[in-house]
């Protein structure tokens, strides 16, 4: 299976897998070595990896991917309720349904390009969101969100003689509870798997065609290739990634709410992707991790922490600094997010990966005696 993989790709995959599995240790020094946050890194990493296959490769900017995430979550919770608390059927069905939804929405939306495509996906996502809150309440449980109940049928669990008794069950993989570290490792393995698939797609002729879609659709058509099935395939794959991510959210915390489908949530995955570097293999995972990490840090700050942090300043200045900083932290985390969005798009449209490449080129240019060409790296 790996016969056609280059050595450097194999090395990258192994390093990636090692880094993910060693996450709890590696990220401990920056205070991110605990399972709840690590789970988020992995889940949103998957979401962004999938989004990148659409946006990064084909250039189609979807503003509706949160809908597929939401569909994944609802599907997973329903699977828990009806079939089994085992996460495997839940994520399989979540992926499948995410893909199905994406196939329908993508089929319609991809009849247009550019901003029209973006607006169409936005419209579909808003429709799903509004419906989840209103008419679809029997399925989604409206504002309360879909939750497990002790009285759920769970036919497979019952058939296999698994009884959770009087407690509200939580998801478990053949007896291993999907909370805490086991939950993270489950998500982590999924992330590695998704990364591997994404890498295969990037290196494949299919991936090359997707980049050609972004580069010049006109030429692609006159080259004998039908653009739309390529874009649709990319859309469906990214929808499946989103469905899987949504399913995993439900696995680690069996609850699904419509706010996951709001268009600002779609905006967040766009930001993750461009922050890391859209169209790069590793970028989206880094972007997702960075955003979830800073969200966690910044939201946790409060006035007291700030007063402490600026205690070395004279009192007047301290107040000013505390006030300014408090705009950006705690409740104000979204302000930071928005500002970050702007800064990245203005100064580093290629994202962090471009930043790394620039630094590397600068270093090799300085110490490696030149000759290193930046162009191929930047274009990747």
């Amino acid at each position: 299976m790996t016969t056609s993989m280059t050595k450097s790709d194999l090395l990258l995959l192994l390093c990636f897998a090692a880094a993910v599995l060693a996450g709890p240790v590696l990220l401990a020094p920056i205070g991110a070595g605990y399972p709840d946050l690590l789970q988020k890194f992995a889940i949103f990493g998957i979401f962004a990896l999938g989004f990148n296959i659409l946006f990064g490769l084909t250039g189609y900017l979807s503003f509706g991917h949160a809908a597929f995430l939401g569909v994944g979550s609802y599907t997973a919770v329903w699977t828990f309720k009806l079939l089994s608390m085992n996460p495997i059927p839940a994520i399989l069905l979540a992926t499948l349904l995410g893909g199905l939804f994406a196939a329908v929405i993508g089929f319609v939306s991809l009849r247009r390009t550019g901003i029209y495509f973006s607006i169409l996906t936005l419209a579909f996502a808003q429709m799903s969101y509004n419906l989840a809150y209103s008419v679809l309440t029997p399925v989604t449980n409206g504002e309360t969100g879909l939750q497990l109940a002790q009285s759920d049928p769970r036919v497979l669990d019952i058939a296999f003689g698994r009884d959770y008794g009087a407690v509200l069950p939580s998801s478990d993989l053949f007896g291993i509870s999907m909370t805490g570290y086991p939950g993270f490792y489950f998500c982590g393995v999924m992330l590695i798997l998704c990364f591997f698939v994404s890498m295969r797609i990037f290196r494949s002729p299919f991936g090359m065609m997707l980049r050609a879609v972004k580069s010049n659709q006109n030429r692609l058509n006159y080259t004998g290739l039908n653009t739309r099935p390529y874009a649709l395939a990319a859309f469906v794959i990214s929808g499946m990634y989103a469905g899987l991510a949504g399913g995993l959210l439900a696995v680690t915390d069996p609850l699904a709410g419509a706010e996951r489908m709001q268009w600002t949530a779609s905006g967040e995955v766009v930001l993750m992707t461009i922050l890391g570097g859209s169209g790069t293999l590793l970028g989206p995972v880094i972007g997702a991790g960075a955003i979830k990490y800073f969200e966690n840090i910044f939201s946790a700050f409060n006035e007291g922490v700030l007063v402490q942090a600026y205690s070395f300043l004279p009192e007047g200045l301290q107040h000013v600094m505390v006030w300014i900083s408090s705009l950006f932290v705690g409740e104000g985390w979204h302000l930071t997010l928005g500002a970050l969005f702007m800064i990245i798009v203005i100064f580093l449209p290629g994202g962090l990966m471009e930043g790394f490449n620039r630094i590397r080129a600068w270093i090799t240019g300085r110490f490696g005696g030149g000759g290193g060409s930046l162009a191929p790296a930047a274009a990747e």
């Binding site: 250039g59 808003q126 509004n130 419906l131 209103s134 008419v135 969005f341």
Partner: protein, 342 residues
């Protein structure tokens, strides 16, 4: 019949707001070629101009009246707004009319905001891909709404209409229906008339001034106008400022209808974008027609009779129409060929 008239009336004020925002969006798109996701934020900022004016007018002078005491035996505090203390009855009237007054303040403020936005950010994105324009203005929209949130809090701040416009108008009588069947809040009628006036003003400006002529020419063929040696850049700045003022006024006047909160901009933005796309990117007439049409259709969709047949239709009607229009008429109702097709 009267139910239908009532629903049409109900759709007019919302339609007016959509039309005003969409008008600015489409002018900016047509002339500057920029997709401005921060336009809803300008609407929201306008609304908060009204909030600020009201707050400033309500600033109170506190005097202690030694002749009267409270139940606790302390001198009674007498609070009078400064405006009343200074201007007497005229001050009271000013307070009452704070929303209309805020328009006067909103014009220069929004112009300033618009111009600095264009000079400080937007102009660097004329040549960048649309995806990047969307992303950077989306970021800006978040920043603006979060700043407003930190200054004004997260809760809606009700703004009263002037007393004279607080009542209901029995509109039905005027067109020969039975009294009491078609009653309509006066302020919403005022808002509709106001939006029509602004729309008329914008069209007249574009139609009858030299400046407007250049802008229209720019919308039709940007490159050629650039070649004529006309200083397009400065005009772009002014166009952007104007669009900001229009959105801001739409927001300020809307406050008695919908108590402003920090995320009202985002809510309206998505709908206004749909309006622009339905009307046709870069088409002024399309934006206005689509704005009112969608506003009215939305109000029809929220009738109980309709909801009984098609549950949830009120939630999705606008998006549904957008999807149908985009698929059947890719350029929208009145779109021009070649706009944004790649």
């Amino acid at each position: 019949m009267d139910a239908i008239v009532l629903q049409i009336l109900n759709g007019l004020d919302k339609g007016g707001a959509y039309a005003l925002i969409a008008l600015g969006l489409t002018i900016i798109f047509g002339t500057l070629g920029v997709v401005n996701f921060a336009h809803g934020a300008l609407f929201m900022l306008g609304a908060f101009c009204a909030v600020t004016v009201k707050a400033l007018l309500s600033l109170e002078k506190v005097a202690l009246d030694p002749t009267q005491t409270t139940a606790w035996g302390t001198p009674l505090e007498i609070r009078t707004p400064y405006v009343e203390a200074w201007f007497g009855d005229f001050g009271t009237a000013m307070l009452n009319y704070s929303v209309p007054i805020s328009i006067l303040i909103a014009i220069p403020v929004m112009l300033l905001i618009g111009v600095s936005m264009e000079r400080g950010l937007i102009r660097f994105f004329y040549k960048r891909p649309h995806a990047e324009q969307i992303l950077v203005t989306f970021g800006l929209a978040i920043v603006l709404q979060e700043i407003v949130k930190s200054l004004f809090g997260a809760n809606p701040i009700p703004q009263p209409a002037p007393d004279a416009a607080k009542g209901m108008i029995d509109f039905g009588v005027a067109i020969g229906f039975q009294a009491g069947n078609v009653v309509y809040p006066a302020w919403r009628l005022i808002y509709f008339l106001f939006s029509v006036a602004i729309i008329g003003g914008v069209f007249a400006f574009l139609q009858f001034t030299t400046f407007g002529m250049v802008v229209r020419a720019g919308m039709a063929d940007r490159e050629t106008v650039g070649l004529l040696g006309i200083d397009i850049d400065r005009r772009f700045t002014i166009v952007f400022g104007m669009a900001a003022v229009v959105a801001g006024l739409a927001g300020a006047m809307y406050t008695p209808i919908l108590s402003p909160d920090y995320h009202m901009g985002m809510d309206f933005l998505v709908l206004s974008f749909v309006v622009v796309v339905v009307g046709g990117m870069g088409s002024l007439g399309g934006a206005v027609v689509a704005g009112f049409t969608l506003g009215i259709l939305q109000s029809f969709a929220s009738m109980n009779e309709v909801k009984d047949i098609l549950p949830g239709i009120d939630q999705i009607i606008i998006y549904l129409i957008a999807v149908v229009i985009l698929l059947t008429r890719p350029r929208g109702l009145m779109g021009r060929k070649g706009v944004m097709e790649h």
